[in-house]
């Protein structure tokens, strides 16, 4: 089995739906960071069968973890300091996200007016459904 060393300080995003890590990486703008980032795909999981994991090393003041709820609310966020997990939580579902999710409906007004802010609102908390405020199309996480 592939092993990647533990972190002394940083964040581990665990229980990412298998195949979803690259999207999370993109949405969190991790490519813009100078920190070490490890993406583990298709790791074995008792709970999920397969899962993805992202490990980000170092101090992370510039990452907006709130948007994770809109992307995959089953992710576990582990905050690591001095080699131990000091906080373990699932992301909360933000009521509204601006310019994170993009509406993919080709009939939406956002498809022809690039200056509009892409805004999604949480419409079904139980299922984590977000809908575009303009066309009301739900965000497809696939």
């Amino acid at each position: 089995m592939l092993t990647i060393g533990g972190l002394n300080q940083g964040i581990v995003l665990d229980h990412i739906k298998a195949g979803g890590a690259m999207k999370i990486y993109t949405y969190l703008n991790l490519d813009g960071l100078d920190n070490s980032v490890a993406i583990i795909k298709n790791a074995r999981s008792n709970k999920m069968g397969k899962k993805d994991i992202i490990k980000i090393e170092g101090k992370l003041n510039d990452i907006d973890l709130n948007i994770l709820g809109a992307l995959d609310h089953k992710i576990t966020i582990n905050i690591i300091e001095n080699g131990v997990i000091i906080e373990k939580r699932n992301p909360t579902l933000p009521e509204r996200v601006d310019n994170i999710l993009k509406c993919k409906n080709p009939r939406c007004i956002t498809s022809v007016e690039p200056s509009l802010v892409h805004t999604f609102k949480l419409t079904d908390k139980a299922n984590g459904t977000y809908r575009c405020i303009y066309c009301e199309q739900s965000f497809d996480r696939r």
Partner: protein
């Protein structure tokens, strides 16, 4: 200041007030013929529409007001690339109220964010068309006498028909409504409407394929067109197309007081022989569209009768 973007922007109580006002206008249109004198309605139609635009214009003229606007994107600044936000900012200084039709979903909502006059959504793509829904509700209320305790059948293209979706949402707010959804497999109502609206609120509904079987139990039959291009193969279209054509023989199976509604334009889904049946109210429905728009303009302009 209020905007009307979605059919459910009005509460049930506000809707009742609107329909009551429309019924008063039907009874005595002369009384309202000057109430909007000096007011201007801008009709901003980014795509062609005959009935909706003309009924908005007729409504404002009937109220003694004036109209201005454009009837296609080619004849507006949209052709030069102007945004909806900029257009409405300018139009706000020319008119007192506006009705907007746009091929892109959400455009009237964008307009409402930047407008200083009331914006009425006159249809945005396959999304919302609230004044059609108000028209449908006025037709049912005026001719049936109620909006509750009804078994309402929707027939034809239930997958893509925005008028169907909006009316289902609007009627779901009234008590003891049952829906009978009559369509081919390919054109069934979207799953999210079934799950998020009907099942979530315990609203009874059934899905059937054959109109003849459903029609005897209906109080209202809302017809829509089944378009050839919606089918995956020609064979299915040919097999099913006649199933969804309403004719006198099928009408003979219906209740004596069932009403047939259709948002128009009708192509061949209702045989012309049905037009003379007193239960066929789709042309009356188009007429009611003017009255309900008159009432809506009055409400949004906060016009009071002295």
């Amino acid at each position: 200041m209020r905007h009307i973007i979605s059919p459910t922007d009005l509460t049930v109580s506000e809707l009742t007030d609107l329909l009551n006002l429309a019924e008063k206008i039907i009874q005595n249109p002369k009384k309202y013929s000057e109430v909007c004198r000096g007011k201007k309605l801008a009709t901003l139609f980014y795509e062609p529409s005959t009935r909706t635009r003309l009924s908005f214009e007729a409504a404002m003229l009937n109220l003694g007001g004036n109209i201005l606007g454009f009837s296609s994107a080619d004849t507006s600044s949209a052709a030069k690339g102007e945004s909806v936000a900029d257009t409405i900012r300018v139009i706000s200084s020319y008119a007192d109220i506006c009705a907007m039709r746009h091929p892109k979903e959400g455009a009237p909502y964008v307009a409402s964010l930047y407008s200083s006059i009331p914006v009425i959504n006159a249809g945005d793509g396959g999304h919302n068309h609230p004044t059609q829904t108000f028209t449908d509700l006025l037709t049912i209320k005026n001719l049936k006498g109620r909006l509750d305790h009804l078994t309402v059948g929707f027939c034809g293209d239930l997958k893509f028909g925005r008028t169907v979706h909006s009316l289902i949402y609007a009627l779901s707010r009234y008590s003891s409504i049952k829906f009978v959804l009559i369509s081919p497999e390919e054109l069934r109502i979207p799953t999210y409407i079934k799950k998020e609206l009907l099942e979530a609120n315990d609203i009874p509904f059934e899905e059937v394929r054959v109109l003849e079987k459903a029609i005897p139990k209906l109080d209202i039959l809302y017809m829509t067109r089944v378009q050839r291009e919606r089918f995956f193969n020609e064979e299915d279209y040919i097999r099913l197309k006649d199933t969804y054509i309403l004719n006198s023989r099928k009408m003979s199976l219906a209740k004596e007081d069932m009403l047939v509604l259709h948002p128009l334009p009708r192509v061949n889904e209702i045989a012309t022989e049905v037009d003379d049946d007193p239960r066929a109210v789709y042309f009356k429905q188009a007429e009611y569209g003017v009255y309900v728009r008159m009432a809506l303009i009055m409400k949004l302009l906060e016009v009071d009768l002295c």
